[in-house]
């Protein structure tokens, strides 16, 4: 009896420990309290569902309109659960620190597995219930039916099943990867898939309304996309639980949901336990990998960049640091994947009106998301404690540091983006107009970059963040304009310029003059400025020093 209660107590302690570990990932602020993070996240995720269901509740909907809103709620549940599971991708299994600390303790491996699985279940369960709670509670007013309890129950089953499916599917993918792949290949594929899938989830989140509004057309037109998007499967599953249209095609999609759920669950069960065992062995026994270093192509690219783009040592140091951080820091990768998903959603929406309009707006939309996303990522610290290396090696003038920041954004983000889009522009608009639109887009991106970097006197990722340090009003104005009207207004402006060559010439000359003045101003003031690390000189909490007469 005593042994049983001791084991239960150990299990409880481990579940608590693993649950807390879900909130101490690198992606959370180092100053954040885990409990506060949980409460904030729960509040943030519950709010959209609560707000939206209260807005549509007075409408009392039936038929395909009801299906539209069902798709939206099902999609929201799936996307958030998928995103959360992908966000915690590395925490689904024990990590090296867990093994090093916990395996020397007198705890059975089975207890560790059980505790980790229970913590994962509790974590996902709490969020699943939280984000759907208000939707379920207030759904009886939305659905025109009379039996409130049955309506609530059917809605709960549908949205919870959809969320569970997304979480299981994401976990099953990692289980498959861990079972099939090893070493560096596993790391690369895992990182790639996590990033891409997170971007896809964010994209789906922003397309939730479009997916809902397109439901009727997609299903009744037998569009193959219905079989590729699980939100429509679960709309079919919902239809089976509580028919709103009695549409046969929609009902048939319910089978896909059942099969999809079964396959995700079976794959998860088949891969999680064996994957867990082999992962643990590899964590403890695998030798430290010794990579071979950069290949010929990478060395060649680096040498070219050094020869043509960043010539001074300080510029080179900062330039390479930026690239290395953005490509290797989990926090920044996921941050930019989120922006990327948002950009992809905006790009899809840009094609809503016409193909021509979409092609004109696409580069502007993506460049805005890219430049603003990078600017935002620059402000997110990475391994803040290591920034002493920059403080100790400062050379005086901040010019080379800030030049490297701009050069990186231009060479590694703006130029590749417009180069990737150029063939499409050429195919549709012809060489002359494609060149004009590309030059116009690049110029706007450079101006936007300068606007967003006003007052930015830092090496990216080395500065701690404090509330109130950001010009929130100014930045909000840029972002709200950028994410709502920027591409539409600017593509119209671009077309107008394209029709009036002398105005186009005036625009490019003015932009060149503005950029030159900004750079000149930056250079002339860089000697008197110091890099900002925002480290508090004194302890964060200060007394009035009354006793220190």
């Amino acid at each position: 009896m005593a042994e049983g209660s001791r084991r239960l107590s150990v299990l409880n302690e481990l579940v608590r420990h693993f649950f807390r570990r879900f909130f101490d990932t690198e992606s959370l602020s180092p100053q954040a309290e885990p409990e506060a993070s949980v409460v904030q996240a729960l509040g943030l995720l519950a709010a959209p569902g609560a707000f939206f269901v209260l807005v549509i509740r007075p409408l009392t909907i039936a038929g395909w309109d009801l299906v539209t809103f069902r798709v939206m709620f099902v999609t929201f549940s799936m996307v958030v659960m998928g995103f959360l599971t992908l966000f915690e991708w590395d925490a689904l299994f024990l990590d090296r620190r867990d093994y090093q600390i916990l395996t020397p303790l007198p705890v059975r491996p089975g207890t560790l597995f059980l505790a980790k699985t229970a913590a994962l279940g509790i974590f996902l369960g709490i969020f699943l219930v939280d984000l759907n709670f208000f939707g379920v509670l207030f759904w009886p007013g939305v659905d025109a039916g009379r039996d409130s309890m049955a309506i609530m129950l059917d809605h709960a089953v549908a949205v919870l099943a959809a969320g569970l499916f997304a979480a299981l599917a994401a976990a099953a993918i990692q289980g498959v990867l861990i079972t099939l792949l090893r070493g560096a290949v596993l790391r690369r594929v895992s990182v790639f898939l996590q990033t891409v899938l997170m971007a896809a989830m964010v994209m789906a989140l922003f397309l939730t309304f479009i997916l809902g509004l397109a439901a009727r057309q997609v299903v009744t037109a037998h569009h193959t996309i219905a079989h590729w998007l699980p939100c429509y499967w679960f709309a079919g599953f919902y239809e089976r639980l509580r028919p709103a249209t009695h549409d046969k095609d929609l009902l048939a999609l319910g089978d896909w949901a059942v099969w999809g759920m079964a396959i995700a669950a079976v794959v998860f069960l088949l891969t999680y336990l064996p994957g867990y065992r082999s992962h643990g062995r590899r964590m403890l026994e695998a030798p430290t990998p010794a990579p071979r270093g950069p290949g010929r192509v990478r060395r060649c690219v680096t040498a070219t960049v050094r020869a043509l783009v960043v010539r001074t040592p300080v510029e080179q140091g900062v330039f390479h640091f930026l690239g290395q951080t953005i490509t290797r820091s989990v926090k920044h990768r996921l941050f930019l994947a989120t922006y990327g998903g948002f950009g992809a959603a905006l790009a899809v929406m840009a094609f809503g009106d016409s193909e021509r309009d979409g092609l004109l707006r696409l580069p502007l939309t993506l460049s805005f998301v890219l430049v603003s996303g990078l600017r935002a990522a620059y402000g997110v610290p990475s391994e803040l404690g290591a920034n002493w290396a920059f403080q100790m090696t400062e050379t005086g003038a901040i010019g080379p540091y800030l030049t490297a920041v701009r050069k990186w954004m231009i060479v590694c983000a703006i130029v590749p983006l417009f180069m990737a889009l150029a063939p499409m522009q050429v195919m549709y608009f012809g060489w002359g107009m494609a060149l004009f639109h590309t030059a116009f887009g690049v110029t706007l991106s450079l101006l936007l970059m300068e606007i967003l970097l006003i007052g930015f006197h830092r090496v990216p990722f080395t500065c701690s963040r404090y509330p109130g340090r950001v010009n929130l009003v100014g930045l909000s104005a840029v972002y709200v304009f950028g994410f709502t009207m920027y591409s539409r207004v600017m593509s119209g402006f671009g077309e107008w310029l394209a029709e009036t060559p002398w105005l186009a010439a005036a625009f490019f000359l003015t932009a060149a003059a503005v950029l030159a003045i900004v750079r000149w101003h930056g250079r002339s003031t860089s000697g008197s400025e110091r890099l900002d690390y925002a480290d508090p000189v004194d302890p964060v909490v200060r007394t009035l020093d009354l006793t220190n007469g």
Partner: protein
Amino acid sequence: MLEIREVTKFYRSTPVVDNVSFAIRPGEVTGYLGPNGSGKSTTVKIITGLIEPTTGKVFVDGCDVREDMIGFRRRLGYVPEEAVLYSYLSGLEYLQMIGRLRGLAAPVVDRRANDLLALFSLHGHRYAPIANYSKGMRQRILIAAALLHDPEVLILDEPLSGMDVTSAQLFNHLLNELARRGRMILYISHVLEVVEKLCSQVIIIYRGKIRAADSVERLRKLMDVPSLEEIFSQLVETRDLGAVARDIVGVIAG
């Protein structure tokens, strides 16, 4: 010469460093000793300019370092107490970054970084991320980064932490060689035997105040004790350690 004159640092109303003064001459290794929390690392952070003193100044060759902190840092190599490094960079990338930020030309950085990695037995791991390095390996990276630009002043805060015996022995020889070449070295350590062997001058700080500052030889004579360990115990540790050990055993057995 590096001089610390009447430096005081208050956190809230508590002085963590209280009126500390000492000097480090070229060619000397100065040991800076004290128990945990005595103010050693705060002193070092003040010297390196990472934190501001409440009062007092630091001079190098008679000039206040605050007037030209950048110029002073060009002459300074620093190994901090904690090996906090950008863990996603490889050892080679980290040294390259530090070298470039110090304004060294790319070929010089590449040559010195590779040579130092080889001499510190890290060449085989030069492309591996620092996250995979052991504590001793990280410490060697820090030392290599501090030496990369051939500094005149070296401040080493617990540099041997986590190092294996061979690396520690190599480091001791290195310190002697650097001192012989006229470098000013401030060496903070808890390993008293090493300090006794290497340092021409020893400064002992306790609760923010300097308790002793002289050569080990003179301190031995003055205090009439045979070793630095005895000197240290008399100056800073007033508890009966044997009794404390017995109490610890009592706690775990009880």
